[in-house]
């Protein structure tokens, strides 16, 4: 199990990659979303190969209204 923080919430996960984590957390694979780890952008194409490490801080974002 790896301890990470996802959108500000700490969690323990058996996921080895970002793609696995997103799936386990219930994100829809085709959803309009983008990801960053430790404030660095991770392109969608790299999600399956992006290994998770203890302490990683993951952000998942989506479009919202804005000015």
């Amino acid at each position: 199990m790896t301890e990470v923080s996802m959108n500000g919430r700490a969690l323990q996960t058996p996921a080895a990659t970002l793609a696995e984590l997103l799936q386990q957390q219930g994100y829809e694979a085709q959803a309009a979303m983008a990801c960053a780890i430790n404030r660095q952008f991770v392109p969608r194409a790299q999600w399956p190969s992006c290994a998770l490490h203890p302490g990683d801080r993951i952000d998942v974002i989506a479009p919202v209204t804005g000015g």
């Binding site: 309009a32 983008a34 989506a62 479009p63 000015g67």
Partner: protein, 261 residues
């Protein structure tokens, strides 16, 4: 209507519109139509899986057929803004980014140092950067020199609706940066505010709260569109110079009732 060029794209409307704070998605759609805008700003926020993705909002925006301008609202340093811009580019499939790096949470005044730092990086990475800034001349010059597609000074703090607080500074920006695309980005509350800055020669205005929070957002969107067009037309027509003294409009020659004594 003649077109102008924003970030390499020909556009006719000179009104850019935000998508926040409308009473409903339908009112937003109606306001967009009434405004004739071709550019809509959008934001990015954390997504929880139970919310099913941002697809619903994104699909509604796409259906409006406008260019999308994602923002980095809420970022407080250059790295945050750079990362959010990179995420936005993938998500919206656009190199356009409205760069906001906030320096003060009370006034939402942009951080000049972080804004310039992020702008330089993003321009190098191929972004079309539309930089939100104050009316500081030197910062605007640096942002323009850095290659920003547009420099966007505030008229007043975001959401205040107070209108141009320092018209002299805005006029100076226009005069000193004749070749830059300058868009007044924040603080406009009434159509007359928009007309005023357009008469100064600004290329466009960006609005959100003034339309979304009006009693009738759809009619207000139309009012702003007409004010922006009127202001631009007036700028192109070159307003008369001011005079210190009165000058009669009606000819004095041939005035009746006058007789030589």
């Amino acid at each position: 209507m003649t077109h102008w060029t924003l970030a390499g794209t020909p556009i006719t409307s000179r009104l850019l519109l935000g998508t926040a704070h409308y009473p409903s998605p339908q009112v937003l759609a109606d306001a967009v139509q009434a405004s004739d805008t071709q550019v809509l700003t959008v934001g990015l926020r954390r997504l929880q899986p139970e919310h099913g993705g941002g697809n619903a909002f994104w699909q509604r925006v796409r259906a409006l057929g406008c260019h999308v301008l994602p923002n980095t609202a809420g970022c407080h340093d250059a790295q945050e803004a750079i990362t959010l811009a990179q995420m936005a580019r993938e998500l919206f499939d656009t190199p356009w980014i409205k760069l906001e790096v906030i320096g003060d949470d009370y006034t939402l005044q942009p951080d000049p140092f972080g804004t310039l730092e992020a702008a330089r990086v993003l321009v190098r990475e191929g972004f079309q950067v539309l930089a939100y800034t104050t009316d500081d001349l030197v910062l605007a010059q640096r942002l323009h020199e850095a290659g920003c597609a547009a420099v966007m000074p505030w008229a007043a703090p975001i959401g205040t609706g107070r209108g141009p607080q320092n018209p002299y500074a805005l006029q100076t920006l226009r005069a000193r940066l004749p070749d830059a695309v300058l868009i007044v980005d924040a603080g406009l509350g009434r159509p007359s505010h928009a007309a005023l800055v357009m008469e100064m020669g600004f290329d466009a205005v960006l609005l959100n709260t003034a339309v979304a929070q009006a009693g009738d957002p759809v009619r207000m969107a139309r009012a702003f569109a007409q004010a922006v067009d009127a202001g631009r037309l007036a700028f192109e027509a070159t307003p008369m110079g001011e005079r210190q003294t009165a000058q009669a409009s009606t000819p004095t020659l041939g005035m009746p009732f006058w007789h030589q004594a």
